[in-house]
Symmetry: D3
């Protein structure tokens, strides 16, 4: 039982289109932290550990991914990223409560139309991605637990 | 602001790989009802209306989609489909509670390994798909509200 | 096992006193939509289908009942009716959170004292009415599923 | 703003039909405790205090109403009444989860068809009754706080 | 199985340091009402009954403890105490939602730094204390049910 | 604003009495994992990070603390520890649902009376301890994020 090749190709096409962008309003590190916060809301170990590792590397910060995973509300992030995480986690956990006013709030923090769409699309894509490891009991790769916690030599 | 062409192509590739299968353990009508039940759990009008219409046509039943959308627990479905809906809705709403025992229960109802995977993958794909209409306020097409409710002539 | 004659008479006396009023602040269509929204919050198929049909007829709109049932937050209704539905659904699902400030908000939208009372009394009456079909597994009549969806000839 | 005379008459007709029965499977004290447990689940001070007083008198027990109001699960009641309270509180708080199997469980504890119906109808009637004091901020009468706590002389 | 002597001594040292203070911003009665409200949120009969009795005596009010236990939102308390109870119950039930803005709100109602700390510490201490009676099925002493309800002679 | 010296002394007396025991039914590592699981249920970064570090060291396992923090249900632990974590997290998040049957289940896994008490007392103590960092915005010490993740040299 496994993600079939055509499905996997489609998933990674979606993934790369959303995650490999680096914009002033939504950096690659910000995008990984959206994944970490929403994946933690869904209790998905695979995604918290893998994307926590990438977030540590992209944000060049060994602590921030854990802070966002356990309690994004009190994590030391900008007001802009705090709003992004608040709305993204709400889309993950209580999707009907997200309204046009939330998107306007993101625009007020300087996100472009593309950035705004990407916040929603990333949270939505990982709503999918978080559920497959629960379904098929897929653990993270062990190297991700440590990656980005100590300086490379 | 819109689902970009490459993203849309990837989404529909995933969609068609999962929904256009008709197996003894999980018919096309069953698959649509999984979408209806999980989309209702996510309060997604777009998906409830569009896939409700397709479910009515595929199940050749003008009532079942509404019954499943409002309260799948008491809908007149087989014990097999009842188990499918119970586990799929749980993956949609409380994903961490799904365990290997749930998948065994589906196998016990005659689902093949492919069928079992598809239940989880459909509920996961619509966890994605349900959130985009909330994000971008996308309404359903009006013709879906009525489709499948009256016999074609 | 059934609603006994004296109980049924009392129930319908309450029902008719609340639902058969048509005021500028709370039309008969609005009252039916309060029933639809709160009944959907309680997953009551019987009431969603029966009162959805009446709402379609009274509102002369084939779509609005489904829109309110699945996600009243994004339904195309006036600011007044949006406030009515928000507070009514909260009374249905989290009654302790309703306060005098909510009633003032309804007055601010032009509801009279009688209209304000009726919003609360309708949501409360269907808190009763929604639970009996769950208790006794009472399905809706089949003709309600289609009623009001196509123009009468 | 008040419960109008015709509505009040209808409400009390329902109330008396359900509460003034004393059967082996569901005594008048048991009925009051169903009200206390479900009203506490709805945070309704008016009903907890008034029906707590009546329950103390009918059960001839100065402690049981408070025990049931705060935590019916650990209250010193029979297995029969424990099942009644568990299912009644579930109908109050999560009505869709009640199924025919729950009613069979009540029958297994010796409740007649009338008793079973009354459990559901009482919990449903107070789903209505609990919401009106939240809506209109109706406090309990002060004499109920103490009634039944000390022996009459 | 019991709270061991050294543990009990430590618990009561904490308890007395927090509860036996009487300040303008947080009286001993206020402190007991924080215990009543948060213990009710945790369904702890032992603490609701024992500290309800003490609250009745310290507030010289036979009704207030029951009002706060069942629905603190509508209890007749000052705006200051209403804010204290709202934030304390949130710390009890949804601790991550408490932020520095909540503490500022308490300061705005005239609480000193010590008072503010004590609100959080009392709610936290009874988060501990409420769970032990659930764990070990510890009932309240019977004399607390009546204490403070009738004038002493 | 800070935990005062006498309070801190009392807290650590409780802490040490519960955590510094190593029994066949509940090792020091098991006790730390109870803290990690319940602290994660309360979104407490301070406790998840500090006690995650100690758990890694005591369990001599660099992965287990993260696995338990994000999803204890699927963590690779014994059936005994799985039951301990399930009941401890329930006491943390839904305390009224814990009953004598849960304690019997722990006895059935070989826990002594002292071990059983300690499970409840540890979950209860950290119900207190988790709330103070939310109240006063207390971050973990930075060295705990990495501790126990790499072998000591």
């Amino acid at each position: 039982m496994a993600w079939r090749p055509a499905e996997a190709a489609a998933f990674f096409a979606l993934h790369d289109a959303l995650m490999d962008q680096d914009t002033p309003g939504l950096s690659t590190a910000d995008r990984e932290l959206v994944v970490v916060a929403t994946s933690a809301a869904n209790d998905c170990l695979h995604c918290v550990v893998a994307h926590g590792a990438i977030a540590r590397i992209r944000a060049r910060d060994p602590y921030l991914a854990d802070q966002v995973a356990v309690d994004w509300r009190k994590a030391p992030v900008s007001a802009r990223l705090h709003a992004v995480l608040e709305i993204a986690v709400r889309l993950a956990a209580q999707p009907a409560t997200v309204t046009a006013a939330d998107l306007d709030r993101l625009r007020g923090h300087g996100l472009t139309e593309d950035d705004v769409w990407d916040v929603g699309a990333i949270a939505s894509l990982f709503a999918l991605s978080n559920r497959l490891p629960h379904w098929a009991a897929i653990p993270p790769n062990e190297e991700f637990f440590l990656m980005g916690r100590v300086p490379r030599q």
